[in-house]
C-alpha cells in the first residue's frame, strides 16, 4: 500500500524551482533548439541551451567538394537570406583565386544581397510581433517576402535555397521580368514598411512587451562576439559593409542605424531602419545598373574560364569549351594554395568564411563563422531574472536560425 509507484529524482521534492523544456520542437522557438529553463514561479533562474539538432557536418563535407558544389551548402546556413551566404562564398573563392569582378556584377550582387537582407529582417521583425501577440503584421508583410522570392526565381530559378551566382558573377543575366519586379518592389514596399511600423513601433502593448526585455550593454555584446543588428542595437556601429567593404559597397551612401540599450525594442527598431537603408541601397544600385549601356549592359560575369562554366552552345560545338566544362564539373582544377578570411554582413551579422587551400582541388579546411552560433550563448545572460514570456520574445528578436547555428 505504501509502496511508491512513481520514482522521483532525488531532491525533486525539496526543489523549489521548476524545470521547463522549451523546445526542441516548441512552436515558439522557430527552429530546432532546446532550452532547459529553470523557473522560480515565472522568473527564469537559469537557461541551458542545447544546439546541434540539425548539424549536417558542412565543414567536413566541404573538404571533399570542389568549390561550386559548396555553394548549395552555404544556402542552408541562414536560409532566410541564402543569397547573402552564396555571395559571401563566391567572394571568398574570388579572393583566393584573385578574380576581379566587373562593377555591374558587384551592383547586381548588392541588389540581391540587400533584397535578401530585407526578407531576413522582415521575417525576424514580424515574428517578434507574432510572439508578442500581433499576427497581423506577419501576414501583411508576407506578400512582399513572396515578391522578393519571385525576384530570386527570375534570377536563379529557386526560392529558398537559392544556389545563386557563380564564381565570377551570375549564371545568367537578370531578365526584364526580374528588373520589372525589382522596380515594383521599390515602388510598393516603402508604403508597406511604413504601415508595418505604424502597427508596431508606437503600439503600447508591443512597447511594454519589448522595452527592457533582454537588454545587453555594448561592452558585453562585444565580449560575446555579437555582430550585426544585435550588436548595433547595443550601440556599436560595426558593420562589415562599411568596415571591410566588399562587392563595391564603398560606392554607396547609407547610414548605420544604432540603438542604445540593446533590448528587444532596440533590435526591432534597428532592423526596421536597416530595411529602409537597404531599400535606399537597392535604389542606388538599380540606378547604377541602369546606367550601363550597350555591351556593358550585357556583362554579368568575370572572365574566369577555370571556374565559370562556358555557354552551353559552345560546349556542344567547341572543343575547348567542352574540356573546360568537363574539368569544372568534375572538379579537376587545382586552386592556388593559401589561406583567406572573407566576411560579409549577413542577416544576423558577420558571416565569415575561413578557407585554407593546400593547392588541391577541394578546400583543405573550411570554417564558417556563423553569427547566430556565437551570440546565442549570451541567451542565458539576456534572460536571467526575466519572465518566461520574455524568454520567448528575446529568442525571436535575436533572430536565431537553427540552420546557421548548427552548420
Amino acid at each position: 500500500m505504501h509502496e511508491q509507484h512513481i520514482k522521483l529524482p532525488e531532491g525533486s521534492i525539496e526543489k523549489t524551482t521548476t524545470t521547463l523544456n522549451l523546445g526542441p520542437t516548441h512552436p515558439a522557438t522557430h527552429g530546432v533548439f532546446q532550452n532547459i529553463l529553470e523557473l522560480d514561479g515565472e522568473r527564469i533562474v537559469s537557461a541551458d541551451q542545447t544546439v546541434g539538432y540539425i548539424h549536417r557536418a558542412f565543414e567536413k563535407i566541404a573538404e571533399r567538394r570542389p568549390l561550386y558544389q559548396i555553394t548549395p551548402l552555404t544556402d542552408r546556413l541562414n536560409y532566410c537570406s541564402s543569397p547573402i551566404n552564396n555571395m559571401g562564398w563566391h567572394l571568398t573563392c574570388e579572393k583566393l583565386l584573385g578574380v576581379k569582378t566587373p562593377k555591374r556584377v558587384d551592383y547586381l550582387r548588392i541588389i540581391i544581397m540587400e533584397l535578401a537582407r530585407i526578407s531576413d529582417h522582415l521575417i525576424c521583425n514580424s515574428i517578434v510581433g507574432v510572439d508578442a501577440g500581433a499576427y497581423t503584421g506577419f501576414l501583411y508583410v508576407m506578400q512582399y517576402r513572396e515578391l522578393i522570392y519571385e525576384i530570386y526565381e527570375e534570377i536563379c530559378g529557386s526560392r529558398l535555397t537559392t544556389n545563386m551566382g557563380r564564381i565570377g558573377g551570375f549564371e545568367r543575366n537578370f531578365n526584364d521580368i526580374a528588373f520589372q519586379k525589382i522596380e515594383k518592389f521599390l515602388k510598393e514596399y516603402p508604403r508597406v514598411q511604413q504601415e508595418f511600423e505604424n502597427l508596431f513601433t508606437r503600439n503600447r502593448i508591443f512597447m511594454e512587451r519589448t522595452i527592457g526585455a533582454g537588454p545587453i550593454s555594448a561592452e558585453r555584446a562585444l565580449n560575446y562576439g555579437f555582430t550585426g543588428p544585435n550588436l548595433r542595437a547595443a550601440g556599436v556601429d560595426y558593420d562589415v559593409r562599411v568596415h571591410s567593404p566588399y562587392s563595391s559597397y564603398e560606392d554607396f551612401q547609407f547610414d548605420i542605424p544604432v540603438g542604445t540599450t540593446g533590448d528587444c525594442y532596440d533590435r526591432f527598431l534597428v532592423r526596421n531602419q536597416e530595411m529602409w537603408q537597404s531599400l535606399s541601397i537597392i535604389e542606388q544600385a538599380y540606378r547604377k545598373v541602369q546606367e550601363f549601356k550597350g555591351t556593358e549592359a550585357e556583362v554579368y560575369h568575370a572572365d574566369v574560364p577555370e571556374y565559370y562554366l562556358p555557354p552551353k552552345s559552345d560546349v556542344y560545338t567547341k572543343m575547348e569549351a567542352l574540356i573546360w566544362h568537363f574539368k569544372i564539373i568534375m572538379g579537376e582544377i587545382n586552386m592556388p594554395a593559401g589561406e583567406v578570411y572573407q566576411s560579409v554582413e549577413g542577416g544576423n551579422g558577420e558571416l565569415g568564411f575561413y578557407f585554407i587551400s593546400d593547392g588541391g582541388r577541394t578546400p583543405y579546411r573550411l570554417h564558417f563563422r556563423r553569427p547566430c552560433f556565437i551570440y546565442y550563448q549570451a541567451y542565458e545572460e539576456l534572460t536571467k531574472g526575466a519572465m518566461l514570456s520574455d524568454a520567448i520574445i528575446v529568442m525571436s528578436s535575436l533572430n536565431l536560425i537553427a540552420g546557421e547555428m548548427d552548420a
Partner: protein, 196 residues
C-alpha cells in the same frame, strides 16, 4: 594614424622576442604563431596594450595537419581591432597526443562555445574551460570527426553499395578507385584526368 601590420609585428617582437614566429601576410592579414603555452599571454597582450586593442574575437577554430609530427593541430584565432579596423590571425600548434591549450574564455565570453565546437570536432582540450563538452555532435560520440584520419563516408557501411559515391567496398580513405562522379582525395594533386 591607423595601425599597420608592421607596427603590430614590431610590438609583438618587442614584447615576446623570438617566440613569436612565422610572420606572413596572406591576402593582407597579418598572421603569426606562438608556442602554445604562450597563447593567453599573447592574447592578453593584444587585448590590453593601448596601441593594439584587439578586443573582438571574430573566430576561433582548429586545423588538423597530420603530417606535421609533434604539432598536428593548429588553433587559429581571428582577432579584430574595431577602433582601427585591423584584423589579425594568430595560430598556436599543439601535438595530437596531448592537445592541451589554455582557454580564452576568461578574456572573451564568445570563446565559450567556439572552444566547445573546436573540442567537439578536433579534440582540443581547453584547460580551464568552464563547460568543455560536445556541442554539435551527440554526447556519446567517441572520436573527433573533423580530424583528417576520418573519411567523409563511413567506409564500413554495408547497407549501401553504390560505386558512384565511393561506397563500392573500397578499403578506406584515398584508396578508392576513381570513378566518374567521384572526387577522390588522393588525386587532388594529380596531373590531368585520372578518370577511368
Amino acid at each position: 594614424m591607423p595601425l599597420s601590420n608592421e607596427q603590430i609585428k614590431h610590438k609583438l617582437v618587442e614584447k615576446f622576442g623570438e617566440q613569436i614566429a612565422d610572420f606572413t601576410e596572406p591576402y593582407g592579414m597579418l598572421t603569426f604563431s606562438a608556442p602554445k603555452e604562450l597563447n593567453l599571454k599573447v592574447l592578453n597582450f593584444l587585448y590590453d596594450n593601448p596601441d593594439l586593442k584587439f578586443r573582438f574575437l571574430t573566430d576561433l577554430c582548429a586545423v588538423h595537419y597530420p603530417d606535421q609530427k609533434g604539432s598536428e593541430l593548429a588553433v587559429v584565432y581571428h582577432l579584430h581591432n574595431l577602433e582601427d579596423n585591423v584584423r589579425i590571425r594568430f595560430k598556436i600548434f599543439t601535438g595530437v597526443d596531448q592537445p592541451d591549450v589554455y582557454t580564452a574564455t576568461g578574456l572573451f565570453s564568445a570563446a565559450n562555445w567556439m572552444e566547445r565546437e573546436t573540442y567537439d570536432f578536433y579534440g582540443i582540450n581547453f584547460v580551464g574551460h568552464p563547460n568543455l563538452k560536445r556541442i554539435l555532435n551527440v554526447d556519446e560520440m567517441d572520436y573527433f570527426p573533423l580530424r583528417k584520419e576520418y573519411p567523409l563516408e563511413d567506409q564500413t557501411r554495408t547497407d549501401k553499395d553504390d560505386e558512384m559515391f565511393g561506397r563500392g567496398g573500397f578499403e578506406g580513405f584515398g584508396n578508392e578507385r576513381t570513378d566518374h562522379g567521384t572526387l577522390i582525395e588522393a588525386d587532388k594533386k594529380g596531373e590531368g584526368e585520372n578518370i577511368i
